[in-house]
Amino acid sequence: MTNKPTIPLSKRLLYSDVFWAAVLLAPNLIGFLVFMLFPMVASFGLSFVQWDLLTPAKWYGLGNYRDLIADPTFRKVLWNTIYYTIGSVPIGIVISFLLALALNQKIPFVKAYRAIYFLPVITSMVAVGIVWTWLYNPEFGLFNYLLGLIGIQGPTWLSSVTWAMPAVIIVSIWKNLGFNMVLFLAGLQGIPDVYYEAAEIDGASWLQQMWYVTIPLISPTTLFVVIMSVIGSFQAFDLIYVMTRGGPARSTSVLVHYLYQCAFEYFKMGYASAMAYVLFFLVFGVTLLQLRSSKSWVVY
């Protein structure tokens, strides 16, 4: 009979990767199940009922989704969300890319510039919203004073149906510029000098180097920035809540703002949940579309 030394179970567990993986992942797993997966499923279920929190929930089938399609306010906020995204994302990305390019020219005070451009990123949306509301003040605000200096009668900004949305878009671009700039700067610094040297030897001009070297090689960063910016702008809320409450005449009310109102002001939980799912599929669809299209313009 061979006398194999047996290792006690407790000791085996202590040295087992699987055991420790289970222990170390437990908080994440519980958090994921309780605060992610379950709410996702629950919210899907809620989107088929009518519920005002006071009376028992009533089954409504696809009614909420039908109502959404017929709701002119929903169509309006959907359009506003698209307006906000198209207004803020492309311009924001172009400006932050140009700033990163400028910052990459090995000029003095790079760190100081980076810090200054980053200030709005770390500031709370609420504070930013309040300060810019003051800047936009039609009579006593700084902007209309400056516009007046060059002979322009400034608009009433946040109380104008036409100008409120552009005004909010400008603030959101201003706030996110530094974040995207830092991402682009890291991407630019990752492009090896040899490519430029080779291009130079071939006699490529500055513009040609830009078009044939910089833009293709930075495209993975661009993709990341585009996706994050679009996701972020689809979920805009704080700034709009603080600056306009969606007004005037719903001209700045976006999806999440209307969702918030439906859930926590009108107490239409089912309707708001249906809207949340529309938002989810929108974000999901748009992200997927961007990833698909990236195959034709992103160089790895």
Binding site: Y15, S16, D17, V18, W20, A21, A22, L24, L25, N28, G31, F38, P39, M40, S43, L99, L101, A102, L103, I107, Y113, A115, I116, Y117, F118, L119, I122, T123, S124, V126, A127, I130, V131, W132, E139, F140, Y145, L177, F179, V182, L183, A186, G190, Y196, E200, Q209, F224, F234, F237, D238, V256, L259, A263, F264, M269, S273, A276, Y277, L279, T287
Partner: protein, 274 residues
């Protein structure tokens, strides 16, 4: 890229103009906060008032429990940050270094939750908080925020860069997987922890929609919520509103100026090493 004089000068001009645009709103906030109300409505506007009016700050301190809001924000942010550092480093370590079945597909699934808009879970989480009796308590701001797929991802990416030899040597010396995590990886991950900690702290400190929905009573408000309430009370008292904004913005700016590098590192780490 080729560096000629012209491009450098153009770059400088662009950057200076941009920097002015970034700074002016902050300067205007600061200068308004030290003016008297009549001075704010004077034409043409001036950067400095006739005298520095500290009363706006005192006024806020009197009428509004800003000290309390500050402490609430600090409490919630610190607890959430410490909690996330722990859970994210644990999860990140497991995903980066332990061998277990379905590890990579599990990680991919967890990562995919990053694109789920937070608002999809908002209503059910609100209902859960109500069922637990956590509405209008800080539990509602803390407990659901203790784990983070983004943070776990960030820590995993960092742990992947630690040389395998260190881990192998420790294991040969009889270290358990937990020992490897706690004695080797945690001490080595200070820069990544600092980055994640700053992000989490900042995000929690500035969070608005959760406190807006979960917190009702005045003494439990966090700073952004208090500031928004100040706005509805003093709609056109701009000096007081600006003083409130300064108070809420200042701590974050101070933290940032001391820890700039960690922010930049974190952003580039999350963006480039997918």
């Amino acid at each position: 890229m080729r560096l000629n004089r012209a491009t450098v000068i153009i770059a400088q001009i662009v950057l200076i103009l941009g920097a002015i645009t970034m700074v002016v709103p902050f300067l205007w906030m600061l200068s308004t906060s030290f003016k008297s109300l009549p001075e704010v409505f004077r034409f043409p506007p001036t950067l400095f008032g006739k005298r520095i009016v500290w009363e706006n700050y005192l006024h806020i301190a009197d009428r509004f429990p800003f000290g309390r809001f500050f402490m609430n924000s600090l409490k919630v942010s610190v607890i959430v940050t410490v909690g996330q550092l722990l859970t994210c480093s644990m999860g990140g370590f497991a995903f980066a270094r332990l061998k277990f079945p379905f590890r990579d597909s599990l990680f991919a699934m967890y990562l995919a939750t990053l694109i789920i808009p937070f608002h999809v879970t908002l209503i059910p989480v609100f209902l859960m908080m109500r069922a637990f009796g956590w509405i209008d308590t800080h539990y509602s701001l803390i407990i659901p925020a203790l784990v983070s797929p983004f943070g776990t991802f960030l820590m995993r990416q960092f742990f992947l860069t630690i040389p395998v030899e260190l881990e192998e040597a420790a294991r040969i010396d009889g270290c358990t997987p937990f020992g490897v995590y706690w004695r080797i990886f945690v001490p080595l991950s200070k820069p990544a922890m600092a980055t994640l900690g700053l992000f989490t702290f900042m995000g929690t400190w500035n969070d608005f929609i959760r406190p807006l929905i979960f917190i009702n009573s005045v003494p439990r408000r966090t700073l952004p919520l208090g500031l928004a309430a100040l706005q509805t009370m003093y709609t056109t008292d701009w000096p007081v509103l600006m003083a409130g904004s300064v108070i809420s913005v200042l701590p974050v700016i101070v933290v940032f100026l001391f820890a700039q590098e960690f922010f930049i590192q974190g952003i580039t780490l999350s963006g480039l090493k997918g």
